[in-house]
């Protein structure tokens, strides 16, 4: 299903899903319903990514947020399902303040979005600078290219005049390594934070039994 009209239909469909999900999040008082709204919204975002040609990122969005929100849901259920439903609603003042702040923010952001002229100015500049007029064509965004970028070969940063890739702008290897270590540290930290204090005289195996 290609073509501008097909894309438009799908865009509007998923934009509505996304924004509707976000509204459900804000308006529902119940945490599980809010989580369902979040799922809808994130699903819509993933589909928007696919539409925009970012297939790998879209699939990634689905995959990561599936895991993430499942756990979120589980926590929501675990922490609230034990007792009768506590709405934890906020005061009217709080809502008033939120809306009062949201209005100018929305206005400014919309203004900014409208004032953005969708020209190909950046590319035109590069084009004029290099004088190379051979378009590479519509290369598909294969995960291989993303992977190569993460490993230090970024096609974007290659000089159009065929010069050497200079050090420091040849890819994302360093951020990739940093974020890997970061993730590891965070996961260890989270596991440490969330661990259950085992009361003395009770083996961890006894404790495990309670989870089931």
């Amino acid at each position: 299903m290609t073509g501008p009209d097909g894309m438009a239909i799908l865009f509007w469909l998923f934009a509505i899903v996304t924004c509707g999900g976000a509204l459900v999040v804000v308006l529902s008082r119940h945490i599980v319903r809010a989580a369902v709204g979040l799922i809808l919204s994130l699903f819509g975002v993933a589909m928007l990514f696919l539409l925009a040609g970012a297939e790998f990122v879209g699939a990634m969005q689905l995959m990561i947020y599936v895991g993430g929100t499942v756990v979120l849901l589980a926590f929501g259920v675990m922490l609230t399902a034990r007792r009768p439903l506590l709405p934890l609603s906020t005061t009217r003042d709080q809502w008033l303040a939120a809306v009062l702040l949201a209005c100018p923010l929305t206005v400014i952001l919309v203004q900014a979005a409208l004032s953005y002229a969708p020209t190909d100015s950046v590319s035109a500049q590069v084009d004029a600078h290099s004088g190379v007029s051979t378009p590479v064509g519509m290369l598909p965004v294969t995960p291989a290219r993303l992977g190569m970028a993460l490993l230090g070969f970024s096609q974007d940063n290659h000089r159009p005049d065929g010069g050497e890739v200079s050090h420091g702008d040849s890819g994302y290897l360093l951020p990739f390594e940093l974020i890997s270590v970061h993730l590891l540290v965070v996961l260890i930290g989270a596991a440490y934070l969330a661990r259950r204090e085992v009361p003395s005289g009770m083996t961890p195996r006894d404790n495990q039994g309670q989870l089931q």
Binding site: F49, V136, L183, L193
Partner: protein, 111 residues
């Protein structure tokens, strides 16, 4: 019948997500709901990144694809996952300490 989709369309979706996420932060007392708000805001940023790096929305650009946007989105996702892990661990700890998920109960550090 439909006007072609431009980056501005994507920006509007991003705005909606950002504002709703912010309202969510400002009005919820449930710690998990606040986390959900943060996720919405992060996704709003992601949408903008994807829109600006999209080969579909900028068909005439040379080179057609700017990988930076997609890479940034990947990094944001990873950071979001890490943040969610820590935040949920904190939530669990919070719950076991205060017996509730209401963040307003945790104001022991007030001045």
């Amino acid at each position: 019948m439909f006007s072609p989709i431009t980056p501005a369309h994507y920006l509007f979706v991003g705005i909606v997500l950002f504002v709703t996420g912010m309202i969510c932060l400002l009005t919820k007392r449930n710690i998990i709901a606040i986390l959900i708000g943060v996720e919405l805001i992060l996704n709003a940023a992601n949408i903008n990144f994807i829109a600006f790096s999209s080969p579909v929305l900028f068909p005439k650009r040379v080179p057609p694809l700017v990988l930076d946007g997609q890479i940034f989105v990947l990094f944001v996702m990873i950071l979001a996952a890490a943040e969610a892990a820590v935040a949920l661990a904190i939530a669990l700890h919070f719950y076991s300490r205060f017996g509730t998920v209401d963040v307003d109960q945790g104001d022991e550090l007030k001045g």
